[in-house]
């Protein structure tokens, strides 16, 4: 009986969030094939899907935690989050004083992010999906060879504490998605599909000169370098890590079958 009630509760939450999901901004990403910047040299197919326009905010996560108390800072099991989980919050349900409600939530583990999306009837994007959408600048679906695009990303990598900023202040990309670059790093569903080895330079699709920046640096080198940073970051993650500049957003398959 008890479990039946619980089911009903999650069901209600799910229905509610489904409604949100519709109005809450997601945009459709038209799938295609692309060669990721790292990990393979072959074309990877990406299907159609919907992606959140913005990363999940502090306020949204606060609501989630209130509805799902097992994700409160004092309740979360150590298997699912390390000691940095929501560490800048004042307490279990209150944001820290210098945290904006519409800043991206960070210091969340992969498990928490994954469950947040699941409870919205969504899921985390795969690495390939994330990278596919993140190739875009304002005008082009694939701007990876644009020097300005790469300079922007690398410029951000060097800027501290952007995670404190509000969402939606970077550029709106080709698909209508904001903040893939310039705000926070984001969890992906299969972040643990990245295998970085001592010889990982050889896995790159580009030339084997990622670390030789002293010579003339073209756009290709820059984009490989930026992507390498992201893949290396993912490869160094563990699912329970909660990091101050790491947030997430959700995606949804385009035509989910009706219940």
């Amino acid at each position: 009986m008890k479990s039946l009630i619980r089911l009903a509760i999650c069901f209600t939450v799910l229905i509610q969030s489904q409604l949100y999901g519709q109005s809450d901004s997601m945009v459709e990403i038209e799938g295609g094939e692309f060669v990721p910047l790292y990990g393979t040299k072959t074309e990877i197919p990406v299907g159609d899907f919907l992606m959140d326009v913005y990363p999940v905010t502090n306020a949204q996560f606060q609501k989630f935690v209130k509805e799902n108390p097992q994700w409160k800072r004092s309740k979360v099991k150590k298997l699912f989050a390390d000691e940095n989980y929501l560490k800048d919050w004042k307490d279990d349900e209150t944001l820290g004083e210098d945290q904006f409600e519409d800043a991206p939530v960070t210091n969340v583990s992969w498990y928490a992010a994954k469950n947040y999306c699941e409870c919205q009837g969504k899921r985390l994007p795969t690495v390939d999906e994330w990278e596919y959408v993140a190739m875009a600048n304002k005008e082009k679906a694939d701007a990876r060879e644009e020097k300005s695009y790469n300079r922007f990303i690398l410029g951000w990598y060097e800027t501290p504490n952007t995670y404190k900023n509000r969402i939606g202040q970077t550029f709106k990309n080709y698909w209508g998605v904001y903040d893939l670059h310039g705000l926070v790093w984001e969890w992906t569903l299969d972040f643990n599909s990245v295998l970085i080895t001592g010889e990982s330079r050889q896995d790159s699709t580009g030339e084997n000169n990622l670390f030789c920046g002293a010579a003339a640096v073209g756009a290709t080198d820059l984009m490989n370098y930026a992507a390498f940073m992201r893949y290396a970051f993912r490869g160094s993650m563990k699912a329970k890590y909660s990091i101050k500049n790491l947030g997430f957003r959700c995606v949804q398959d385009v035509k989910p079958e009706a219940l």
Partner: protein, 207 residues
Amino acid sequence: MKKLILLLSVFGLMTACDNGEAKKEVVKEIAENKAVLNLTKELPELSIYNLPSTWTTQENENIELKDLRGNVLVMVMIYTSCKAACPRLVADMRNIEKQVPEKDLDKVKFIMVSIDPETDTPQRLKKFSEENLMTDDHWMFLRGTPEDTREFAAVLAVSYKKISPIDFSHSNIISVFDEEGVLVHQQEGLGVDNAETVTAIHQEVSN
């Protein structure tokens, strides 16, 4: 239907995370009491038995990880069509098994979890176990959903990626869990000295 599965999995996670405060201190059972391990007491927070996923064995039986509670677990993630590292990982597992005294074997489970659940059906896992002479009760092969497999790999800090229709790249890690499902030891690499792993198993069995 997919929605329903999602709903159920959300439900599963909710119940799994809704166990209330876990006790910090786990009372170690003395060896004689192991058979009657108290299954009602709270799981440690770090226990993999907090994972709600359901798995299918090579005997086509459905189990939850927590059904394994009370055993020392030695786990590795493989796929049966693998030609490169897996045979060596399997050999490593066998090597470790050989060093565990006969009398302890009923307290230990050696578990291979498939990273290729689409290919590795229970039938296939069964065949693999027979070909590799791993049919004793202490050998177990598990297959789950792609999502649960990804999550389980995250727990073990195992990375894997499908690199072609028949091939995966993956990390080579053998993990040892105590009888409450808490990770106590990991060895990484192929054909490495497994003395520490054997010691870890021995320690947990005699606790």
